[in-house]
Symmetry: C2
Subunit: 452 residues, 2 copies
Amino acid sequence: MQLVILSGGSGARLWPLSNNARSKQFLPLLEDGKGGYESMLQRVYRQLTKASLTDNVLITTTSSQKDNIINQIGSNVDIVFEPERRKTFPAVALAASYLYSKKGCSKDEVVVVMPCDAYTHDSYYNTLMKMVKTVESDYANLVLMGILPTFASTKFGYIIPEKGQDRSSVQKVKKFVEKPPQDKALKYLTQGAYWNGGVFAFRLGYMLKFISKYIGSTDYEAVVAGYEKFPQISFDHEISEKEKSVALVPFFGEWKDFGNWNILTSRLKTNAIGNAVMGNNNSNTHVLNELGLPIFIDGLQDVVVAASYDGILIASKDRCDNVTEYTDSLVTRPMFEERRWGTYRVLDDTTYADGTRSLTKSIVVKAGRSISYQIHHHRSEIWTFVDGEGLFVLDGKVSKVGPGVVVNIARGQYHAVKALNDLSFIEVQTGNPLVEEDIERFDFDWDSVKVD
Amino acid sequence: MQLVILSGGSGARLWPLSNNARSKQFLPLLEDGKGGYESMLQRVYRQLTKASLTDNVLITTTSSQKDNIINQIGSNVDIVFEPERRKTFPAVALAASYLYSKKGCSKDEVVVVMPCDAYTHDSYYNTLMKMVKTVESDYANLVLMGILPTFASTKFGYIIPEKGQDRSSVQKVKKFVEKPPQDKALKYLTQGAYWNGGVFAFRLGYMLKFISKYIGSTDYEAVVAGYEKFPQISFDHEISEKEKSVALVPFFGEWKDFGNWNILTSRLKTNAIGNAVMGNNNSNTHVLNELGLPIFIDGLQDVVVAASYDGILIASKDRCDNVTEYTDSLVTRPMFEERRWGTYRVLDDTTYADGTRSLTKSIVVKAGRSISYQIHHHRSEIWTFVDGEGLFVLDGKVSKVGPGVVVNIARGQYHAVKALNDLSFIEVQTGNPLVEEDIERFDFDWDSVKVD
């Protein structure tokens, strides 16, 4: 059995903690049961480990998520990178071509595809194994997980089974319905419909024909090269809804789509994460504060406050979804990012009256990690080291750096830095434009550097 | 007539926009009627100007407020600095000794003392002139302004007049009551009591005897030198409540004590100042945002949000006063200050695992202004200039600075900077301790510097 985890979207409903650089599955907001917090991805991976299902895991994502994934669950897992975001059908096709042509899996092998942004009971993974057995028994070409609905949601897709089947076990599927209006949703509920949880199982060979249809080959390199030939369509629209031989395996345990602040905070045992001072007159109010400054809250009812360096959301829990309507006026460049080498935070971004702009960052490089050898074509940088020790390279010349050392990196100068222990510096950028994309990377052989 | 304005306290109820460096009277939160905003101090001074009362104004304050006062109302007004904060009686005594022994006012001259944190109708200044006439007519030794109460407040002091007097004019005062409980307040209201608005008038000679009592002299220098001999007591407790010959002049116009967010926002015509995006489902909700990041708000009712680099307050309007109970856990060093030479903002203040600390500031020196020639005994500073032009002095050597220039100021090195036009730089401090007080100032003769 091969398990494919789709690590997708940005999660605009969880602004400002979620942004283009940090999708919702990476937010460390779930209590891990040991007094700490974990992300949705970390929870899923922990549950997979507990169920001994981590041997054959493949994650499909975009390259922007690579550092987050490795930082959160390590580098023992295979990752394929979508050349561009094109919804779930192309992502699954990419994974299938990798399993077949790169990993050498047989056409008979069962593939299970699952998202990583659902909060589920551990028994979810037993249901997942039942799906595998159902495919292996050739009961249907495509097997989905049906989530037992707990209310008449208008935000999920519904799976309608054929009538007269045993509801406790595998069922033949009659049809799919996408996000129905309230009255329809209620009707489906009474008729024994399930929510579509986005978990699919099939034999690898089944998926390969869909790849050939668009690419003319099942070869991984060909799929990567021809990725834009795939329609931008979901797996459900392209495959599930057209397939005649579909079955579902019902799941009766806890399942929550952590799509917004209301649902997410309902899981928290504490009302405040981060620097927050709560008065005595709040009820059902939650604060998630990633800022360095304190938040004082009193007299609020059913309110969520989420604060990051990108912005602050303050909304009643029944209105917190509305933030997605205002994304254009709220979203700027990410002000905080976690990278493979460490983290950076934008401290200041000022455009002066004469049009000059400066960008100031606080940067931490983790012990043993390095920032790649690089040049910038449009900006100069001044780094003031404030803590730790490291090696700094400027145009090939290596020097040791630490608190009080200042380096002046002109436009076009090659530079890199490696942390001997956790290394912190303040970076002041000037130039035009000041964008993350103004970077050209080169190889540098750190092993050849002698340390005093 | 001499007018003394008391510019006092920090205004903890208006946290986080108000702090020790920026008392509430300096917050630019009042609509000025011309599309902009003005502070309480600016409003009072504008009203004094309109009433032609600015000829003989003296402000008493502490030296920490000097820059704020000059930046907001200019330097045409006399200021005396309290050697330390000791409540209103010592502050009035200090002002009186200045008027008598430095300014040469006669003992018969009438002095009016007023606060600068009340929001009043222009007619307030007519009442103030009536108080002067009442003193001149020797109707009483001490004349106060009585504010017509609009509700049974438990937060103000009450002035109880003798019975049977004409309520439209000057009245003899029977007694004073400090912040009564609700039932008492209601009783006083029905008996025709007034709120004590903290406005007093008397002949200068009247005050001098109280000064002599504690200092043994009415000489200004002696008062400054012996300031700690004054009891830490209000003018009301030390003088008004003990005086037998007291009158009040009633004021019937609009008077508001801008003591908390509820009252302050009730005056605003707009619901959002600063970077705020309001959804469609808010009612009676106000946002005041001084941060660079956006705030999104929806679904809130009767809530005030106030955000500065010191922190964020989010409270229902009936609970916003509660913040004063949490001051200890909320108040840190000021993160933004306006000085005579310009402004600074703390961008980052990090203590690392090994105990090293760094403090990063964004500093703007206004065109033509300079930062004094100074040394620091415990910290080194690295300045990266990002905009504008200026002259920088290091151990007596002058150089021209501008974008891209970096200067490294070691502990104990003498330095100063003067802005030729608005000059911006990022300052990184390292050392221990990192406090504003680690500064020793010296004279520097900028006129002797030749500019290329």
